[in-house]
């Protein structure tokens, strides 16, 4: 943006500022890690690291879907309730074998995504309202189907998804990592990814250019629903029981925070996959830091709020790059 004819010193300063602006989430993460290395006892241990990665996995999964919807200038507030729906349905059909139970749970997420997506793409309902209705109604449905109670999950394959390990890596982390790779590939290497960004940048222009706007929007919400259902399955497996009242409660806030702190603007037109993962890690690390140091957890919320404001304030000046 600046013209090149500037004294060297000031050029350096502005380069540094813009570098920090673009990578604020990484800087904050590194600072927090260093802080923890000094202050938190036993921070640099495998257990601490794997706890962090396991607890962050469901947040990463839902954040990816939310990032896609925000990329189209939409939003998905219903991810937490979709997690609850998947959690409620998972034990109901596990009697027919784990493939059936798992498919049903994921299918429920796809259905929820279809409802959200149809309302947004075909009826023209604003995403915040369509998914707000799903947020309110979805958890109620989940509780009705679960009979208001928590059912145990005993299937070893499903339990492995939450508690198992492969080559020493916790299974939830593998699931999340695969999802990150797939979504990253979708966003960077496919036409679908280009459509998502184009719709978020300028929907009318995208429509006039002949992009399949409605189909893409529908797909985005379906993917978000599917990822949320997957997160619900992983969280349920980790607990060893369904818990439609608590699973995914308020996770939409963490997800939106992760996405925004990670550098995806709410105005759409860009999707930062790696940034989103870092954002999720950052907010999880904040709460872990507070817990590990016996600090009042509520202040973690206040700090998260401050970080959101600073992150967004820093990004604000960058405009469309």
């Amino acid at each position: 943006m600046d013209s090149g004819a500037r004294p060297n010193k000031s050029l350096d300063a502005s380069t540094v500022t813009s570098w920090v602006r673009g990578r604020g989430v990484y800087v904050a993460f590194v600072v927090l890690v260093i802080f923890n290395l000094i202050v938190t006892p036993n921070f640099a241990s495998v257990v601490t690291l794997s706890t962090l990665l396991i607890t962050v996995s469901p947040i990463v999964l839902v954040s990816l879907g939310v990032a896609l919807t925000i990329g189209t200038e939409g939003i998905d507030l219903s991810v937490g309730s979709v997690m609850a729906l998947a959690s409620a349905f998972l034990p109901l059909y596990l009697g027919y074998g784990w493939p059936v139970g798992l498919s049903v749970a994921l299918l429920v997420g796809v259905l929820a995504g279809l409802v959200n997506g149809s309302l947004v793409a075909f009826v023209g309902v604003q995403p915040i309202i369509a998914t707000l209705a799903m947020l309110v109604g979805g958890r109620g449905l989940a509780q009705i189907f679960a009979g208001g109670q928590s059912l145990p999950v005993t299937d070893p394959v499903i339990l492995w998804l939450g508690q198992g390990r492969l080559f020493g890596l916790p299974a939830p982390v593998i699931v999340a990592a695969v999802a990150v790779l797939v979504v990253g590939f979708l966003v960077r290497r496919t036409t679908f990814g280009r459509y998502v960004v184009a719709i978020g940048g300028n929907r009318s222009a995208s429509y006039l250019s002949g992009h399949p706007v409605r189909r893409t929007l529908l797909a985005v919400y379906v993917i978000s629903g599917l990822l949320a259902a997957l997160a619900g399955v992983v969280a349920t497996a980790r607990l060893g029981a369904s818990d439609p009242s608590n699973i995914g409660l308020l996770i939409e806030l963490s997800a939106i925070t992760a996405v925004v702190v990670g550098g995806t603007p709410l105005s759409g037109g860009r999707v930062k996959v790696v940034g989103t993962v870092m954002g999720a890690l950052l907010i999880q690390l904040i709460s872990n830091t507070f817990i590990a140091n016996d600090l009042p957890f509520t202040w973690a919320q206040v700090l998260t709020a401050a970080i959101i404001l600073v992150a967004v304030y820093l990004q604000k000046g960058r405009g469309v790059v």
Binding site: G137, V260, W299, I308
Partner: protein, 329 residues
């Protein structure tokens, strides 16, 4: 709106009276539905129209109603305020903490502090040009954290029957005090919105902020005032709720921002800003309140079904509105 092709339709189309009917239905739909629901309920449920039940309905909606007044201004200006639910929690805690010192302070401090936070929200949105959704989302998280921290994560009881309790449990002219306040809030809010230049500026900003700015309207100041009002009303609602419950609960008002947004949207105010009425919002609050009351009366439906019905209801209303506003064009 949905595909961008709408711009090319514009001229020609349905006759004027039909357009007017659709517009009226969209703007006044909530009131029509409200009257229908009341009429049907009065016939179906014997004890619906009893004084006690009506009082319950109105009281149930009173605290949310205060928030909705502020939210209506914010949404018509094209913004959103997600922090109000947390402000209810903070307001209640502030009231509970100060009531032992002096009861007038317990009434004044919550709206003052929450108004100040709202002022901060407004500055970040209007001056720093940050997205309202994000600023108030941070508010939602941070203010709830603050309320929980101040209260040590436990409700704080308000012992004794100081005059403070009267503001939640007493009556003026036969109506509950919180209801009295919400009536005043809606009346003043409605007047300001429809009859003052401030109200016109709110509409202008919601219609097109750029145009409003080019016309020389005080856009920034107007927005800051809207968010300040929204915060102050939410804090006041929190104080009244604490007086009603004889306790400040740091978790009070959880997810109320969603109820408030639903009420405003059901009331026919467009989330895109630039259009809406205070009477619609009032009808929206009453509708949500009645819906809950009916579900309670049916008894067979649990609280889970209540959520499903609320979500479904919201979607029906919004889909109908989307249909009507498309026809309108």
């Amino acid at each position: 709106m949905s595909t961008g092709s709408a711009d090319t339709e514009g001229l020609g189309g349905s006759p004027a009276w039909r357009e007017r009917l659709f517009t009226t239905l969209q703007r006044r739909g909530a009131i029509v539905v409200l009257i229908l629901v009341v009429a049907v309920s009065a016939v179906v449920f014997d004890n619906f129209l009893t004084e006690q039940n009506l009082e319950n309905i109105v009281l149930q909606g009173a605290f949310l109603g205060l928030i909705v007044v502020g939210m209506t201004f914010v949404i018509i200006s094209g913004g959103i305020d997600l922090s109000v639910g947390s402000m209810v929690g903070l307001g209640g805690i502030l009231a509970a903490l100060t009531v032992q010192v002096s009861w007038p302070l317990a009434l004044i401090l919550p709206p003052l502090v929450c108004g100040l936070i709202g002022f901060g929200n407004g500055l970040l949105i209007a001056r720093a040009k940050m997205a309202p959704f994000i600023v108030t989302l941070a508010g939602l998280l941070g203010i709830r954290g603050l309320a929980l921290a101040l209260a040590n994560e436990k409700p704080i009881g308000i012992g004794g029957s100081s005059p403070f309790d009267w503001f939640g449990q007493g009556q003026i002219l036969g109506i509950s005090v919180p209801v009295f306040f919400v009536i005043i809030a809606f009346a003043v809010g409605g007047l300001v919105l429809a009859r003052t230049s401030y109200g016109r500026i709110i509409f202008a900003i919601g219609g097109s902020e750029e145009s409003a700015r080019l016309m020389g309207l005080p856009v920034d100041r107007t927005k800051v005032i809207a968010y300040t009002t929204s915060g102050a009303l939410a804090g006041f609602a929190g104080a009244l709720l604490a007086a009603r419950l004889s306790a400040g609960d740091p978790n009070a008002g959880l997810a109320w921002e969603l109820d408030a947004i639903s009420a405003v949207v059901v009331g026919g105010t467009l989330l895109t800003g630039g259009a809406g009425t205070m009477s619609g919002s009032l009808a929206g609050v009453l509708l949500l309140s009645i819906l809950q009351n009916l579900i309670n009366q049916l008894g067979t439906l649990g609280s889970y079904a209540q959520q499903v019905v609320s979500g479904f209801f919201l979607i029906i209303v919004v889909v109908v509105q989307a249909y009507l506003s498309r026809k309108e064009r």
